[in-house]
């Protein structure tokens, strides 16, 4: 039996935002979040009952986040668009901004692999389905991503920390 869509939102509300946030800044990530759930709501009646809703949503979120990214690249100049409500994401102190910058600096494939595995909790076989390639390649990309994060983020933290 297919649960009411509200339950799917309830269970995946943060995962989808995190996946969008790895690819986009805080404001754009919220737009991608909305686009993701609206598209998912539209397609939900056709989703097979035994499908993994989380993997399905992560796939949609990745597509929507890339759409938002492409749209931004086409209009690189800010147009003075002001968000309706000030964002609570990315406020200094509200999150670990340095980590987010380090994640944002990763090469694409590593960033996505890290996001899907460590943020969305997907197994490598499913990540391979999203990214293309083998699950070994997905595992390597995630491992390389974490290695790079250790260097750029933890390395920087160590330098900055009082001994």
């Amino acid at each position: 039996m297919k649960p009411p869509f509200e339950k799917v939102v309830e269970q995946n509300v943060s995962v989808v935002l995190r996946v969008c946030r790895v690819i986009l800044d805080a404001h754009d990530a919220q737009d991608a979040w909305s686009e993701t759930f609206l598209a998912a709501l539209r397609a939900y009646p056709e989703l097979p009952d035994d499908a993994n809703a989380e993997a399905w949503l992560v796939t949609i979120a990745r597509r929507k986040a890339i759409d938002v990214l492409r749209a931004r690249k086409r209009q690189p100049a800010p147009v003075g668009e002001v968000p309706e409500v000030p964002t609570a994401l990315g406020v200094p102190g509200a999150g670990d901004e340095d980590l987010w910058h380090a994640v944002a600096a990763l090469p694409d494939k590593q960033r996505h692999a890290v996001a899907y595995h460590y943020v969305a909790g997907l197994p490598y076989t499913e990540i391979a389905g999203i990214l293309g390639g083998t699950s070994d390649a997905a595992r390597r990309a995630a491992a390389d991503g974490v290695k790079n994060l250790r260097k750029s983020y933890l390395g920087a933290a160590k330098e900055g920390a009082p001994s």
């Binding site: 039996m1 297919k2 649960p3 009411p4 869509f5 509200e6 339950k7 939102v9 509300v13 943060s14 935002l17 995190r18 946030r21 790895v22 805080a26 919220q30 979040w33 909305s34 759930f37 609206l38 709501l41 539209r42 939900y44 009646p45 409500v85 964002t87 609570a88 994401l89 990315g90 509200a94 999150g95 670990d96 980590l99 987010w100 994640v103 890290v114 996001a115 460590y118 943020v119 909790g121 974490v146 994060l149 250790r150 983020y153 933890l154």
Partner: protein, 199 residues
């Protein structure tokens, strides 16, 4: 120190997520994708779940019915496109509040009776003919719908009323004067009858 999901989870915050969910409800309504909108309200007979399709109010459910199960049923029988989106229920919530406050005797809301069919729906359509503060027996209602021998079927129609309170099955009693069963429990039925008798 390990890189873990906890670190990457940090930018979540409850207020942002709840605002995004509200926005989703509005966007879904605007896109015509909100097949079932619902909310819950507090009332003197406990929390009530209110659900509406674009046609109208489709379900009022007591807490004893288990709201999660009620939502599962709506998902199966109407559409899985179910979202908590209170705006569509604003009028129903206001009229119920007025009713429980003794300031409203008749509900003026578009109803969607698609959860019941045939004789049950016929009975439910006629229940609002029983005025505020009045009561009828199951037998009298059977006569009212032109089928005087269908007393038991009237009982079933009342017991399966998807819109209790708004469609007043609580005004139908047993012939011996006993209150009879009720989807929200006998206490809730008596509370509604007391409310209407006092006003």
């Amino acid at each position: 120190m390990n890189i873990s999901a906890d670190h990457l989870a940090s930018p979540d915050d409850t207020e942002t997520l709840s605002r995004l969910r509200d926005r989703l409800g509005l966007a879904a309504e605007a896109a015509g994708l909100l097949d079932v909108a619902y909310t819950t309200i507090d009332s003197p007979v406990g929390p009530l779940l209110l659900a509406a399709t674009p046609q109208g109010l489709v379900r009022v459910a007591y807490g004893v019915e288990d709201h999660d199960r009620v939502l599962d049923t709506l998902s199966q029988r109407i559409s899985p496109r179910v979202l908590r989106a209170p705006r569509r229920l604003d009028a129903a919530a206001r009229e119920l509040d007025e009713y429980f406050g003794g300031r409203r005797r008749v509900f003026d809301l578009p109803l969607d009776l698609s959860l019941s069919a045939g004789f049950r729906q016929l009975v439910q359509r006629h229940l609002p003919d029983i005025g505020y503060g009045q009561t009828r027996t199951y037998g009298q209602v059977a006569e009212l719908v032109g089928n005087p021998r269908a007393v038991r079927a009237v009982g079933t129609a009342c017991a399966t009323n998807p819109l209790p309170v708004v469609v007043p099955c609580h005004r139908v009693l047993r012939a011996d004067g006993a209150v009879g069963g009720y989807i929200g429990g006998t206490d809730a039925k008596q509370a509604l009858l007391r409310l209407e008798a006092a006003a």
